[in-house]
Structure formats: C-alpha cells, structure tokens
C-alpha cells in the first residue's frame, strides 16, 4: 500500500514536471494558440509588447499577417504575440481581458464578428491601450470607427469584377451561352460584400447582365468542387462560365469542378481572391480556368498595423483613421513579380 502511494506520488510529480516543460516549450515558441501565456512583465527592457488577436488564425492569409507583423516588430524593437480565436466572439472577449490584465502596450485585432466592436473598443479605451482593427473594421457604440488597417472588402470584389469584365471583353461570349458561378459562404457578410461588389462592377463594365448561379459553401475547396458539380448539372445548356468567390479556395474549387465536368480552360474565366492557390497552376505552367486573381498581402497589413502602433506608443503619434493596403490583380505572367508566396 505504502509503495503504491509513493509510486502514485512519483507519477504525479512526473506529470507535473511534464506539463511545466510543455508550457515552457510553448512559451518559447513565441506564438500562443488560444491563450496568451507569456510570462514576462511589460516593457522592463523597453520592448513594446503587441498582442495580435486574429479570427481564423490558422488560415494562410492570417499566418502571413503575423509573419509581416513580427518582421516589422523585430525592426522596430517590439514583439508580437499571436492569439487565434477561430470564429468565437466570446473567446475574443476573454482573450482581450487576459491581454489587458497582462499589461500589453498595444493591441491589433481581427474580430470574428463585427458586432463585438463596441465591447472591444470600450475595454481597450478603459485600460488606456492603443488598438487598431485590421481586415474587418469595427465601431464603438456611438458609431465612431476604430483606427483601421487593411483592405476595403467591397473594393476587393470590385477589382475582381473589373478583371473578369476585362477578360470577358476579349471573348465573343454572350448572355445566351454564359453564366456566372458565384461561390460564397452566405452567412459571412464580408464574403457576400466581395461577391456583390464583383457582380455590380462586372455588369456595369460589360453592359451585359449574366445570370448568376449561386453556390453556397463553407469556403473550402472540396465543398466548392462538390457543390459546383451539382450546380453545373442544373445548367446543362451553358457553354461558358465566369467564376469568382470570396477566397481562392472557393474559386479554384469551382474551376476544378468545371474542368472535371469536361469544360475546357478556354470556356472558363476564373478570377481568384488571394492568389495563394491560383498561383499553383501558374507556377506549374498548367493551363487552367484560373485566369487571374486579386493578390492581397497579409504581410503588408501585419506590417502596417505594427508600424502605426509602435509609432503611437514610442512617439505619441495619433493612430491614423484608415491605413489601406495595396491590392493588385495578378495573372500567370505577373504573380511572381508581385510577391505572391506559392508553397
């Protein structure tokens, strides 16, 4: 009995050491997934500590954003802690409270839901910590926007629509033999904005009102493939397709489904959004329906966010209301020069 107790106590101690070791290892890694567990006190050595809260922090775009932020921070004598809150608004508020209590110097945030804007802004203001919203703009209870760094969602869609219209004008396609596939995650407002922006600009630029086939997905490539395959079935009389979606997964998935159904790349105008998947066909020199994509650089946004925050903390410069990052349309010949990272 005695020996069993000792053994059990030994095992417990071993377990505790293991957990401590794991925690130490994780903290050393720099980024913390779902919990701000950094142990140091703020600014002892003059380093500016910035917390970057992100929705969907495991998506490539947001990972790029953290890379850009960390890069800029290293140059400016700051450090960035990344916190991924997925799509969870409640988790965002909890993490924000943790960050404030740990005395971070500045906060950058991509909210999973713009409705929590007032709580976020209020909490940061009360603690006297400067905050910028990136990618998705937020407002306080009185409708005053927080300083914003990122892109304009609707204008992103408009650029996609303009490029699709340009490519459409080079063909002899007509409203009788052409339809648009619009892949969207229909419960995501930013996604809808992008797609609506694309349609309005396309229609205005071409003067042709094409019928739209709406494909609702969870914004993954696989579901875009499966749902588009079904949508094609319901439209057997269409010869040419114009395709866009709210991210690269959506657009490339729909193009793959069309090609699997026997449509030639010549009968598809696909304009992606992000360029990180469309670039794969181009890098491999494979002809496909992915004709162009809007390149949005998460790296640029992350960098800009850190720059304005450090400027505020160090030099007391007021945060600019809007810092809009550049976007560019890229194609098979231009993606490399534009700086698209194709893994």
């Amino acid at each position: 009995m005695q020996s069993q107790h000792t053994r059990r106590r030994g095992a417990k101690a071993l377990g505790a050491i293991g957990i401590l070791g794991l925690a130490a290892a994780l903290t050393a890694c720099g980024t913390v997934d779902g919990g701000a567990a950094s142990g140091d006190d703020a600014g002892d050595d003059g380093t500016i500590r910035i917390a970057y809260i992100q929705k969907q922090g495991d998506q490539q775009y947001f990972i790029d954003e953290i890379d850009g932020a960390s890069e800029a921070a290293a140059e400016l004598g700051a450090e960035v802690t990344a916190i991924n809150v997925g799509d969870d608004a409640n988790e965002t508020i909890s993490q924000l409270d943790t960050i404030i209590s740990q005395g971070y110097d500045a906060i950058a945030i991509v909210v999973p839901d713009q409705k929590i804007g007032p709580q976020v802004i209020e909490a940061a203001k009360k603690a006297g910590i400067p905050l910028v919203a990136t990618d998705d703009a937020i407002e306080d209870a009185d409708g005053n926007a927080a300083p914003f760094v990122g892109f304009d969602g609707r204008s992103m869609g408009e650029q996609v629509g303009t490029e699709a219209a340009r490519l459409f004008a080079e063909t002899d396609w007509t409203a009788e033999n052409t339809k648009i596939i619009r892949v969207s995650k229909e419960d995501l407002q930013t996604c809808e904005d992008r797609n609506d922006g694309a349609y309005d600009t396309f229609t205005e630029a071409t003067g042709v009102e094409l019928e739209v086939v709406r494909v609702g997905t969870d914004a993954t490539n696989i579901e875009a493939q499966d749902k588009t395959a079904a949508a094609i079935t319901a439209n057997p009389d269409v010869t040419n397709w114009v395709v866009w979606g709210c991210n690269d997964e959506s657009e490339t998935g729909a193009v793959t489904a069309l090609q699997n159904a026997g449509f030639s790349p010549d009968n598809i105008i696909g304009v992606g959004l992000g360029a990180y998947l469309t670039c794969k066909d181009w890098a491999a020199g494979v002809e496909s329906g992915n004709k162009a994509a809007l390149f949005i650089s998460g790296v640029d946004v992350g960098k800009a966010a850190v720059e304005v925050l450090v400027d505020q903390v160090k030099n007391g410069v007021e945060l600019p209301a809007n810092t809009i990052a550049d976007t560019t349309i890229v194609g098979p010949d231009t993606w490399e020069d534009a700086g698209v990272v194709c893994t």
Partner: protein, 352 residues
Amino acid sequence: MTASKETRVSATTQPPALRAPESPPRPKSPARSLFARIGVQNLSLVIALILLIAVIGWQDPNFFRYQNLLSIGTSITVFGILAIVQTLVILLGALDISVGSVAGLTSVVSAMVFTSTASSWMGIGAALAAGLACGLVNGLIIVYGRVNAVIATLATLAAFKGLAQILSGGRSQGYTGNDPVFTALGRGTFLGIPVLIYLFVFIAVAAALVLKYTDIGRNIYAIGGNPTAARLSGINLNRYIVGVYVLVGTVAGLAGVLLTARTGSGQPVSGSEGLELESITAAALGGAALTGGKGTITGTVLAVILLGVLSNGLTVLGVNPFWQNVAKGALLVIAVVIQQRRSGQRAVGLPA
C-alpha cells in the same frame, strides 16, 4: 435491456445480416427473402433514398444525367470511406473523433513528401504510414492510458490538427495537379467511372466481407455487444481495439491522400475539418448503435449515398444552403427516431 444484450451476444454465433430480422424462420417467398437480405433497418433507408431521388428527379430531370451521378459518387468517397471505418469503431462501442485531423495531417504529409522526393508513391506511402501511426497512438492511449475513447480522440483531434499546422506553417503545400498518380486518384476514370468510386466500393466490400464472413468480424460484434462475455470467451480485447484504431488511422491517411489529389495541394485544415462528424452522422443514420455491437456496412453505405444525394440534389434544385443544413439534421433525427421506436424500447429515461 437484458433481452437486447442477449441478442447482441448471439452475434458471436450468427452472421449479422441473419440476425437483423429477429423473427423465427418461415417458408420464404422471393420478396420476403429479398427483404430479409436487405434487413428491415436498411429497408427504411432504401425507401427514403428512392423517395428522395424521385422527388429531386421530378423537380429537375437533369439530376439523372450520368455526369451528375458520377459527381455524387466522387463527392461521397472521402467521407464515405471514413464512415465505413467509423462504423467498425462504433461496433466496438467506441468513437474516433480524430479522423478529420488525421486526414488533414496526412494530406499535408503526402504533398510535402511528394514535393521533396518527386515520387507520388513515396508521398502516398508516407501519408498511409502517418495515418497508421496516428491510429496506433489513439489505440494505445485508449487501452493503456485507460482514457475513454471519445475523450482520447477529442484530445488527438486537437493535437493532430496542430501537428498539421506546424508541419505546413498553416499554408497549403505543394502542387500535385500535374502528377499522373495523384491526378488519376483525384479525377481519373476507369471504364468511364471515377477511380474514387472504385476505392469507396472496394473498401466497403472488404469491410462488409470481413464483418460477415470472418472470425475477426464476428469478434468485433461480440466485443461491442458484451465486452465481458467476449473477454471470458477468450477474445483479446486490447488487440482488437488497437487494431481497429490502426485501421481507421490508415484509412484516414488514404482520405488525406484523396483530399490532396482532389484539391491539387496538401491542405492542413481546409476540407478535412468536420469529416469526423460527417462520418459519425453517416454511421448513425445507417443504423449503427453508439452503444456498440449493432450496425452494418450496408446500412452505412446506404446512409452515405443518401446524404450524398441529399446534398447534391438540394444544390441542383437551388435550395438555400441554410435550409440544406436543416434538411440534413431533420433527416438524421427522423431516421434515428424511426429506428429506435421500431426496436420497441419503452419511452422512459435516457435511451440505451
């Protein structure tokens, strides 16, 4: 309760399909013998499937186009093969929540190994080996760590997903779009039928034959039906539990390879997240009881097809995706309620 346990134990001596009707043998008419072969449980799924196809086809005859039927087949393969092996786990009375993460991890592994070795077979082999290892980890944690299967695989669901993200840096990896082997798996056809469908059929038939005609299959039913009786009759429970999890891991590895083949690159999260719930949904809809010892591969396959037809059909008809979710959930509830009420349980307390 006692009666149902006895029925399950009897599975050790009877092939499962014969056990389903649970009625004394009578002189059989051809129709009756057909029903007996399909099983009452599966019959309701067949009827639901026929009704569904009739309604969708009546609304839009394009549904019956050959190309569309093939696209239903390719869309169900990945979650279909997972549902089949999930059925084996459920028969044991356990669950594997980590299959989606394993598929994501192995998708990344297949693409990364392929990119660095330029050999698709190396990529596929590495993915299957990684899947096998994940399954082994699950099995060992459950048996030797004495952790409940749901909790253990819930933990590895997170851990394997994290591993996939660390390996890939969260980025999609590689490009398999111009490799002949991956292209053949993802969109190749043989005799006009997609390779994906052959894989699904092969795995389904293999699992069904093993369950029905081998000692291994009968022992799996016995363990799920009554583990104590199974152990006392000399079955090595640990070996079966670890073995089934290893099999599930390996098949999840194959699912990862297929995800890579279909999307043209290794995806750490996109496309694999949620596969665990889809596979459990299909197995439950197919009549597998989460308490173990009851369920068939035929039922699961019918459920997979039913879910595939539903998802495709609702999109063909242009139904709003929000309503598609409601329809899927409603179908599952109705099917399970019918199955449970048919089993004659009294409506008291929590169901068995």
